[in-house]
Symmetry: T
Subunit: 144 residues, 12 copies
């Protein structure tokens, strides 16, 4: 595994501003920098993309089939309803891991079921920016 797409869903571009008691105080840029650093130590290159548009997440997942060996996806508000994102992940033979900054199981009821995670290999949730790093480790581990 050499190249990984890091896909951030709606409103994650506001990180650092938005409800820091839930999501932490880092900006998305800073999180992407930390992911990249960590990826470097694992011998992996990452490309980070954020979009608020459901269909652009679909397109990025589709494009990933031509260049990426893995996907980290934090689908945020689309996690709980998007059949289109789920179908994209199912259609593309690139392994994916679902990531959440907070722990949806401890939040509102409508965040308890995760449609997108159903098409992923696994889930890491609740550890702030480190959720991405742990998911990256999970994804890149040769042993799995």
């Amino acid at each position: 595994m050499e190249k990984v797409l890091v896909l951030h869903g709606p409103n994650l571009n506001l990180l650092g501003e938005r409800e820091p008691e839930i999501y932490g105080a880092l900006t998305l840029e800073e999180i992407d920098r930390r992911i990249a650093e960590h990826a470097g130590r694992l011998g992996v290159t990452t490309r980070s993309v954020q979009s608020n548009v459901e269909g652009e997440l679909v397109r990025e997942i589709q494009d990933a089939r031509t260049w990426a060996d893995g996907i980290l996806i934090n689908a945020a508000g689309y996690s709980h309803t998007s059949v289109a994102v789920r179908d994209a992940l199912a259609a593309v033979p690139v392994p994916a891991v679902a990531v959440h900054l907070s722990n949806p199981a401890a939040r509102e009821h409508f965040r308890h079921v995760d449609v997108v995670a159903g098409a992923c290999r696994g889930v890491v949730a609740g550890f702030g920016w480190r959720s991405y790093v742990l998911a990256l480790e999970a994804l890149t581990d040769a042993d799995q």
Copy 2:
């Protein structure tokens, strides 16, 4: 964080025998050994307990408040219904992470909601025995 309780729920003692296409081929002993090794590298001591009895999981969680700095819990079949385990985790001021070998979101419908995870800091699911190791990293990371 120096001492961590690793709590395995019902049927996990069968690991290595039971449905290896879902849970992997390692025995629970072997998994515990790997967790311990990894914990050693992180400067952490683990104590692993498996029980098929819901109330014993409750008791272990309660006891953990006297000696442990963190809990990894794979509540297995009790994850989806046990208010008692959830209450125990909520009552004890020791941070916990929910762990699953497989990815419940990709399995039967009655595994899609996780009552126990609602009282944990986060979740790591879907990476076989490595779910425990990643959860341990999440738990012990000073930065969190």
Copy 3:
């Protein structure tokens, strides 16, 4: 009525430690002492048992048919799901009263239906340790 089983369900052994804003600051021992004192004034002997194990609650209820004239049961987290505890109460011809320290109707939605109380004579909920004492009065009142 001379002898009463006082049955405490999962996590109640933590009383005094656990979420005192909900459950009060007394320990279970202290509560049992107060129940016993009060029982003494009513000419009743109590035996208090706490268990985190659903099946042990079942067994205590069953055993009560050989020695007890009444049961006070705080099934805690099992109140809302345990058919086994309910069946035990229905099978044993000893009158029981369901007890809760807090008021489940004012808490999370999944605490609003009480399966166990359906096999009891009545319910006392929301008055902390005094719920037990009031339930004992209800149970022992000759007039009922």
Copy 4:
């Protein structure tokens, strides 16, 4: 606590006539007399009101804020649906206890959820007229 409103909801004026196998053979007057007697021993004055009209229950609860230190409310058939009664109890800073003669958890399914009790301090149910007396004790106990 010196003055307590005892509020009886719809059809309770029929007590003594109506389904005595469920509600007992006492009339409401007789019950009120017993409550008053018991209250006297506790140094409390009670005022009992019965109404079949949801809105009159609301008004009595509201008026109670000007003169009462506590409320016992048996909302009967309105217990399971009345947002208005619940809102009244929530709006008035007088502690209330929900009372039932029978045990709703052991009756029809539509009596298993108690909307009104959600705005009360606690519940006493299933002990006939003594439910009121026990609730009064709960309400007046200085220790609570």
Copy 5:
């Protein structure tokens, strides 16, 4: 449009006392005065009625057909269940607007569906006493 019925449902007579963080600190009288003032500027006379009784709300709506050109109705706790109030509004050929001081969509789940509003021309919710004034403007606007 010259005459408007302003109908306040259960517990609104407590305004100024009741949960001011939700409903604001004005009394109902003061609110009625402000509505009347504003109505005066629009050339409209208002008559304000408050009732805690569902059936009295029905009767006021019915009576309105003989004298009023419009209705502002804040059905409060009856908004979410009253078929009778809805039927009254549907039966009377006087246009009505549903009003709420707070925003039900941001409160408890059982306030998210508004049965009464389904028989109104529109809804204004969330702006405290000004909800009434805005609703009055909506109702009286010749242009609509």
Copy 6:
């Protein structure tokens, strides 16, 4: 059977004005006159009461136990939710028949279940004012 209470629920006082395509063009007075005439032919005296207030319907049902031999009840908008009216009918040993002018099974979904009818002997629905007359025949028939 000599005396029958005819009980009309909320909004039925508007008959003749309200949605004649659903309820017919007769006023309630005219309907009561026709019921009385028909009752006369059956040797029965009727007393008709209309109320928009749920609790007054409860009271009328209760009072009927002292003078009436039967009840015709058109609970209108309360038919689908009122546990209090149902409890009143169950508490009073006077046979009742549920009446509807229109056919609820052919109207909105929330009119498909009839809580009040569950405590009646039978139902006549859909025949306008003649529903009452047919129900009266059913009630008075010695043969039943």
Copy 7:
């Protein structure tokens, strides 16, 4: 109205044998004879058909369009599920009345919704064999 189809659904041929405490002690033949007598007094001819087969009920309803002026239908066990019978009634421009011997609203929960009645003009239920006679009156009344 001169000719009426009386359609009896599944198991009604057992009347007189089957659960007389629910359905009465008359046989279907006797009931049909009484209906015919009563019809004679109203100047109406009836043809009675019983079938246990859903599709035969459909066919009889269809055939009725060529000869009948009205239909009385007791769809019995098919009342609560049959879209086919409902569609037949909707397709045929012959007015129908739904009939039940017992009162479904007072029986099991799965008899509380009546799919077939939704395509009828009205319902008469709960009066044993007289339900048919009353329904016939309703159907034949010129005044309706």
Copy 8:
């Protein structure tokens, strides 16, 4: 309050063409002109944006945090399902009001719950283009 974002959701660009019996005959341009005029009188500048893309609504809401003092949002078809739009509104410290041309409570069942409104200060619905103007008044009123 000086600057307000007016955000129109999917299909609102068709106004004037689309189902005028529901939405009125004005075009979106004309509505925006009227809003702007009215805003001028209130000393407020508005910027109107229409988008059919859920993610663009998210982005506009996000951008509003840098320049706007308030938001009027008619999320149209996304009102009932979009967690992403709701999250955006919750993340941005700019007060918002939900607007609807028609009254969703009087339309199809799937329009009765408003996910987006749950993150707004209030709602104005049912008054055609004037819903925007009234919402603007609500938003800009200093007194609120």
Copy 9:
């Protein structure tokens, strides 16, 4: 017990052809022969009937009251919805046992509830043709 009706529901005539991995490779004739043989050893005569028509199953059950001492019924696809078959079994005082070749609890969700079995003495499911034989033993056992 001397004579038993063996009633096979829809599609069972295809046995041996239809999905043998679920239902086994025997034809219905062969199964009936085996049941008859086994019945002979138990001193019982069986008559086997297969029908795809719900109403014919009803009729066979009804007829059984005139000649049979017991019924084995495999209602197949009607098991999960037929109130008519259930009513027939409840109406006829002949004991019945529900039979299934496969184990419905291990198949699709809509086969998990068995309406017909609710009117039977018991159930035998999952043992192919031997389910009938075991059910016959259960039915004929004098000891029961």
Copy 10:
């Protein structure tokens, strides 16, 4: 593909009479003639059967396995509930296409799920009699 069964469900024999605004003005005979003509052009022979009886539809599907190469089935009112018809289609190795004259997705809610179609290769709905012809093309196309 040479021989095709065209199976019409309940009430379709009324075509041309029944609700022409929904189903069109052609009779079933005329539709069958058009299907046959079109089939002739495709080199296919059709046999059309209509039945109102669920079990006869089952039998026709079963018989089709001995002579037909394909099935067109319009199960009408049975489409939404019949497990028996679905099981028959699943049991018979003849490809089937579900047909509807109208578009169920645009009609009542209880027509939105199609149990029978789940055992078909595909669906054609909403084009009146041409739905059959298009379905026949789909079925016979060698290319599929």
Copy 11:
């Protein structure tokens, strides 16, 4: 098949005492003796275990994989909720049959779905102690 585990769930140790009208008058010992006798005739040895503890049932099932050729399990009150018991049965390659003394389909609604039976080969229910014997026959039959 030589050795069979007979596993009795919660409250079954009370047999003979508990609700004999439902469960029969035999004690569990007597039932076990009868099972053993019958097993002897089939050339099978049985080992019977009763436990009220869900986790002990899990452990017994697990242990069975080392010595048993088959399992009879009456999970009683755990039948309807225990994912842990189901998982144990699924994990162990020993065939199991679910047993019930009474017929759950004819009892309370919450006994209509059997989670544990979903991991068994089949079910025998409703024949008292003979359910075990029949299940044993089913399990041991070489022909299956």
Copy 12:
């Protein structure tokens, strides 16, 4: 009918790559070529557009009102949730047909209800690329 918009929803651009056992082996380009060819034979010009963005599907449908005589829409993953696409189709007076390559009724439960199809004239599903061609025929047929 001369010009038709062919609208492909999310992930359909992957056709030929994605799960060919479900969707077939043709690319979207090839499918569009075949549609165009077929359209040519029918004297129709098609314009094909694919988008992964819900709002772009909305815009294309809106634009179609200025140039197209018909729409074929395969909304894919948005079919089951998009009120916005449905509203667009309802707002534009161009007839549309819903198309699916596979048969949703035979797939996961969440694909069984089709929100978008409710605003279309009809549906063609399950025939791979030929679904489009058949839908085109349906759309263009003058006879309809």
